[in-house]
């Protein structure tokens, strides 16, 4: 799975980091950084993508 972030849309809410801390981290700019671009396809990453309040994350197979 490949994960990308639209940093313009991200508001740094950190919901994704809470759900999948190995994959997402809110960095010192106040927006999220993807730590692993091709994480294992586990439910947590999917939840994070789905629950991001601003729709800033996307995942492709």
């Amino acid at each position: 799975m490949r994960v990308t972030v639209d940093r313009e849309r991200c508001v740094g809410s950190g919901q994704c980091e809470l759900l999948a801390p190995e994959v997402f981290e809110v960095d010192d700019d106040g927006a999220v950084r993807v730590l692993q671009e091709q994480p294992d396809d586990d439910g947590a990453v999917r939840d994070a993508v789905q629950q991001c309040p601003t729709g800033a994350l996307s995942a492709e197979e």
């Binding site: 508001v11 809410s13 801390p21 106040g30 927006a31």
Partner: protein, 425 residues
């Protein structure tokens, strides 16, 4: 108590009437049920508040799907004309009190960035140890008070109010001697005009004075931290910048009001009403207390059940259509999170309090969109730590009387909740 939606006469429901909000929650939820089914965008006139012109009225959004659709289109449904007041208030005023809540992009994005970088999950994990220490101390004091007296405590004053207040004041570095004033002022700002909390009957002046006092305190702290940095959020806020821009002291003051009001009162009400819900559902209390594995879902259910913030407002920036309703620019929509959180389209058996509910996509922290609560992790962790500590340290806590409800449509609050520490464990 159960109330069936059929028992509700919709003609008597007035969401603008402060007294309506002191009716029992079961009744209010039955009313929301009927609104959701029969008039999902019901129209209400605005309340009369001395000193403010009455506006055109608003639509009460009670369906989860409509609420999500509106929240996720911030350009069409803006916050910048005021998100926390039914009436239009002067722009300086709502920005001052609402801070980020009443802003739109690009300003919202910029300030939210500055704040979010000082408020990351990583930063908050570091404050968790101090949260634990605060919770332990507050519970020990509650126990000492009960033992020194007749065994009774007030859950609100002795448990629920001091925890978030101390957490936030610690994070911001507010000195001990300023904290009682902070509590009193934050009560006024969020009183919803409840006459018991506002001494004369001029709520507007009382709000303004309380806000000014908090702002003055924060401006003083911000100035101190610039020359004498410490390891606190105020220091991080005065120093951080985005695109070369820093927060002004006034913006920091507004943000502090937001934190106090949004973070302090909501967490307090989640604790007190969570305990009330647990005492009304003793089976759920027993299950959760026995199983720390339920801390996460238990807290989510408390937030869904209580919905500490009942609504926020959006204002249409242009003409359009939602759920078959054609709206024009300027129309107001109140997003009733409390109603959406019991929408049977989304939640199975929504009127059941179930501490193991999972998934639980409640909108207690807001719905999709840029205004999702920035304190959500802090609140979640704080609540998890608090409920676990109560189960461990006050297992003999017993709610003994009906709560005293805050007369406010906006904050689902308790003023008092009598309880007893029975001494049996």
């Amino acid at each position: 108590m159960t109330v069936s939606p059929q028992d509700v006469d919709l003609a008597t429901v007035d969401l603008s009437d402060r007294d309506w909000w002191t009716t029992p929650p079961a009744y209010r939820h039955a009313a929301f049920d009927r609104l959701r089914r029969e008039q999902p965008l019901a129209f209400f006139a605005e309340p009369d508040i001395p000193g403010l012109p009455a506006g055109p009225g608003y639509h009460a959004v009670t369906r989860y799907a409509d609420l999500e659709a509106i929240s996720s289109q911030p350009a069409v449904f803006c916050s910048g004309r005021g998100a926390v007041s039914m009436q239009d208030v002067p722009a300086e005023l709502h920005e001052f009190f609402g801070s980020l809540i009443s802003m739109d992009d690009p300003r919202h994005a910029k300030i939210r960035r500055i704040v979010s970088k000082t408020f990351t999950p990583r930063m908050l994990e570091r404050t968790l140890d101090s949260v634990r220490a605060i919770v332990d101390d507050v519970l020990a004091r509650a126990r000492a008070k009960a033992e020194a007296g007749d065994g009774t405590i007030d859950v609100v004053a002795d448990v629920a109010a001091p925890i978030p207040l101390r957490v936030i004041c610690d994070m911001m570095g507010v000195p001990e001697e300023d904290r009682p004033g902070v509590l009193a002022n934050s009560n006024i700002v969020l009183s919803g005009g409840d006459p018991e909390l506002i001494e004369n009957d001029d709520p507007l002046t009382a709000f303004l004075t309380a806000g000014m006092e908090m702002a003055a305190l924060m401006e003083r702290l911000a100035a101190e931290r610039l020359s004498d940095p410490r390891d606190d959020l105020t220091t991080a806020l005065v120093r951080s910048e985005v695109d070369g821009e820093r927060l002004t002291h006034q913006e920091i003051a507004s943000f502090f009001i937001l934190l106090l009001v949004a973070g302090n009162e909501t967490t307090r009400n989640a604790i007190s009403q969570g305990l009330l819900a647990l005492s009304e559902h003793p089976d759920q209390w027993a299950r959760w207390a026995a199983d720390p594995g339920l801390d996460r879902t238990g807290v989510e259910e408390v937030v869904r059940w209580v919905s500490p913030v009942t609504w926020m407002r959006r204002t249409a920036t242009r003409d359009g259509e939602i759920d078959g309703h054609r709206f024009t620019a300027g129309e107001k929509f109140l997003l009733f999170y409390a109603a959406a959180n019991r929408d049977p389209e989304v939640f199975a058996d929504p009127q059941r309090f179930d501490v193991s509910r999972d998934p639980n996509p409640h909108v207690g922290f807001g719905s999709k969109g840029p205004h999702f609560c920035l304190g959500a992790h802090l609140a979640r962790r704080e609540l998890q730590v608090t409920f676990r500590a109560i189960f461990d340290q006050l297992p003999d806590l017993e709610v003994t009387g009906p709560p005293d409800r805050l007369a406010s449509s906006f904050v689902n609050g308790l003023k008092r909740l009598p309880a007893r520490l029975t001494g049996d464990r």
